[in-house]
Symmetry: C2
Subunit: 504 residues, 2 copies
């Protein structure tokens, strides 16, 4: 099959058994050295192996498995999704199984398998396919931006070679079982499948996640080609990253905000903070909205729709209290609250979104994030825990993440709890005075407070760049706790009912 | 329903709304303080809530959910198992969802749910039930030995009160949907269910995991009773642990080995280490056994039987090499190798078996552990990473763990690769000399080597106390690498075929 780059494959190479064995001995040593070096590197390698029926994917993987040190390799197959996987967005199963930094993940099945097995028969199919491919491109981009080395190998056989290979396998009783009825069906529609595959390869062939077409007519040449590819690209990637690290200037100050971002800050600062609610008015309205929220949450549950609540806001803005009021309306068996603190060792060895993907709820369940992935563009940005290019990229990655949740049917409700600088100071002081609340205030809170202006800019950017129609921000004026809590209940309730297509 | 302890419940208590509300305000504060304190404690709390139909489990959980800070609580329901759960031993789903230290796990459904819903009609049922209850006792003992506070609440209603409650719920359209056909069926067979439940409660009522029967006739009294229980037992448990910590003598030297343990050491030292194999003989036999192992592994896969390989042995005994030969015979899509190093933050916050439970393979898959849970009775014992009572208890816990794997149908194959002290020294030196192998030797290896004698005793104990018929140890003389690798292949192959009931 022709690649996006090279339309005519060269005549298939033949490798003698002797040449092969000599080369394999060398290769083993080189591959294990690669693995030793990879352990110390700040990245992982993903090797995706796909190709036409009979091209010997299994044989290739077993050869690689024999050469590599199995302790640093994870091989994934991905048969049909389990029910836990089906009840989450398509990419969830791939996110959750990513290997940690310093390891190699080899994908016998991957995010392409399902797509490649479907034939695009109609224009509608093609549109759905393109949508899926876009999602895959985003996924691979997020990983490669995070320094992951992604190699995608397409094992190719022309139609005649495929027939010969299948016949050959069938003629030997030790291998006959490997040829399935589906393989022959695929052989019969070779041309149609080739067209779809070519489309998929072209659409997902990117500089940072290229497809490499390898002629599979000669098994030994095929195996060597993939091993050589691994060695060569590892070396290049390591060099590229080292060079990048040298070139990278130290974290720069925030570039001047663009108009859109200035709009977010204005929206934040324009929020009226003087609303108040008497205790009596609050209690009456609270009970009404708790009842409504309870009904809305039950409707969502029955409809199999998951809900993701995100609570962000200034320190001491009242996130905890708002969450408690919210959860008091929901069946305790349906929700889970995730307080988000610093990432642990394992989480640090992954893309920053990995630990949130892990907690994406199943259909009909509710996840409540007390702080969230927005930490990337707030605390991590301001404290310099990530580079400017990283947090700048994060806006798009976060939008993409939330879009996947919504496309799967989840309801995403995001709150920013806003208080004034003066109100925060008053609350900090009161926390320090009440012995029972002292655990809620520490040096970090005071440090964050000193960077109020920087946070204000960051929050403004966040509001401007991640306020999407599918996952809009709800800005909650929170100087008055009662008012804030009620607003959270109302907004939550309305957002759920709107998503379910119910009227107020 | 009567408890094991108190056969006649007192007359149901009634709590007025006013008393309730006053007490609840207090309770909330006390419970949140409990949670703040629990965060710093070296244990977690598991609260299991079970009871007769109509006793208001859901209402109670929602009340607790509203009083507690949801950030420190995880509530579990456990509907029918997912397919990922069904393909593992019964307790896997409970192990994997345990909350971390410092948190409260509330179980609306638990490891009792399935058991309690089945009626024991025959003697055979009763025998199966008792087996299951034993497994549960072991599970709870492992957790409570690890300082977990386990509280099991049984919400009770007598038959008349149950009928009244179900009728009452049905009479209000807001709650009518909560009464199911099954509830009424349970009501009709109240006496039979009571007998089974009483049996279950009695069999699993242990000092460290007691059942507390709470009369559920009055909803408010019921809620207060559970909250009070939580507060009271938390205080007692904390005090008990603090006292224990004061009383505990510093880690003592290993007590004199008992006869059984001495037998293990003799078995180790009696192993002949002078076998050798020429390269030619090795290659011929290797290919034969690789072929057989491949066939055996495929049979196991087809039979849906998982295999768990455990590799233990002296440093430099050749575990890595043996694993590579073994994996070269298996389809790379079917196995995963887990190199076991120091536990990470999250793992440290759990029972030491937790991280291994996580990796228990699905039906038909293969997990290969390069070092394993036996670290508890080897390195952790010798380096003092755990207390003597902890590693002494571990033998039984490990046997229990492996028995569960085997009972689920998994095949457990354990290797100890044995080399002499002199051979180890030679291998260490050669590793230091060959630049390519220097990463394989470090100060820790030398330190372990200096404790050879202590390890010898520990290995002897391990061999004596964990060599069960369902998961026996295969001792591999490994001074000669070729001989050792071949022995591993042979033993693996034979163990699998024996487990499958195949003849050699």
């Amino acid at each position: 099959m022709p690649t996006a780059k090279r339309r005519r494959p060269p005549a298939p190479e033949r490798v003698s058994k002797k040449t092969y064995e000599a080369r394999v001995n060398q290769l083993r040593e080189e591959l294990v050295r690669l693995q030793v070096e990879l352990k110390e590197q700040p990245f992982k390698i993903l090797l995706i192996v796909a190709g036409v029926a009979g091209a010997g994917r299994g044989d290739l993987l077993n050869a690689l498995g024999g050469w590599l040190d199995p302790r640093g390799v994870e091989t994934f197959n991905f048969d049909g999704p389990t029910d836990e996987e089906r009840e989450r967005p398509f990419l969830w199963r791939f996110w959750r199984s990513l290997p940690t930094r310093g390891k190699i993940g080899i994908y016998a099945g991957s995010w392409y398998t399902q797509t490649l097995n479907e034939e695009a028969r109609s224009k509608k199919d093609l549109a759905a396919l393109d949508h899926e491919l876009e999602r895959i491109r985003h996924f691979e981009k997020a990983l490669s931006d995070n320094d992951t080395l992604i190699l995608k190998v397409w094992l190719n056989l022309d139609k005649d070679s495929q027939r010969a290979r299948l016949k050959h396998l069938e003629s030997d009783e030790r291998t006959a079982w490997r040829v399935t009825e589906e393989d022959w069906r695929h052989h019969r529609i070779y041309d149609r499948l080739e067209r779809t595959a070519l489309h998929i390869l072209k659409s997902t062939h990117r500089p940072n996640a290229p497809w490499i077409v390898i002629d599979a007519a000669d098994e030994r040449a095929r195996n060597l080609a993939v091993a050589d590819l691994l060695l060569q690209r590892f070396g290049e990637h390591r060099q590229k990253l080292a060079q990048l690290a040298r070139q990278r200037a130290p974290a720069k100050a925030d570039p001047a905000p663009k108009p859109l971002r200035a709009y977010g800050r204005r929206r934040l600062l324009g929020l009226p903070l003087d609303q108040q609610l008497s205790a009596a008015a609050y209690e009456e309205k609270r009970d009404k909205w708790l009842g409504r929220l309870n009904a809305a949450a039950r409707s969502a549950h029955e409809a199999g729709r998951a809900i993701v609540f995100v609570f962000e806001g200034w320190d001491a803005a009242g996130k905890g209290g708002a969450i408690r009021r919210l959860t008091s309306a929901i069946d305790v068996r349906d929700y889970r609250v995730y307080p988000v603190a610093k990432p642990n060792d394992e989480e640090k060895s992954h893309h920053y979104l990995w630990r949130f993907w892990k907690h994406v709820p199943r259909d009909g369940k509710i996840a409540i994030f007390d702080r969230s992935w927005y930490g990337r563009v707030l605390v991590e940005r301001i404290e310099g825990f990530c580079r400017p290019d990283e947090w700048q990229r994060a806006f798009g990655e976060i939008n993409d993440f939330e879009r996947q949740l919504v496309e799967h049917g989840q309801i995403v409700v995001k709150f920013w709890l806003h208080i004034s600088r003066e109100e925060q100071l008053a609350r900090f002081r009161s926390r320090e005075e009440i012995s029972f609340k002292q655990h809620k205030i520490n040096e970090e809170d005071w440090r964050n407070r000193r960077r109020w202006d920087a946070y204000e800019t960051a929050v403004g950017d966040m509001l401007a760049l991640t306020d999407t129609d599918y996952a809009p921000w709800h800005l909650i004026p929170a100087n008055d706790k009662r008012y804030a809590r009620l607003q959270v209940l109302r907004s939550a309730c309305r957002a759920i009912r709107a998503a379910l297509g119910e009227k107020e």
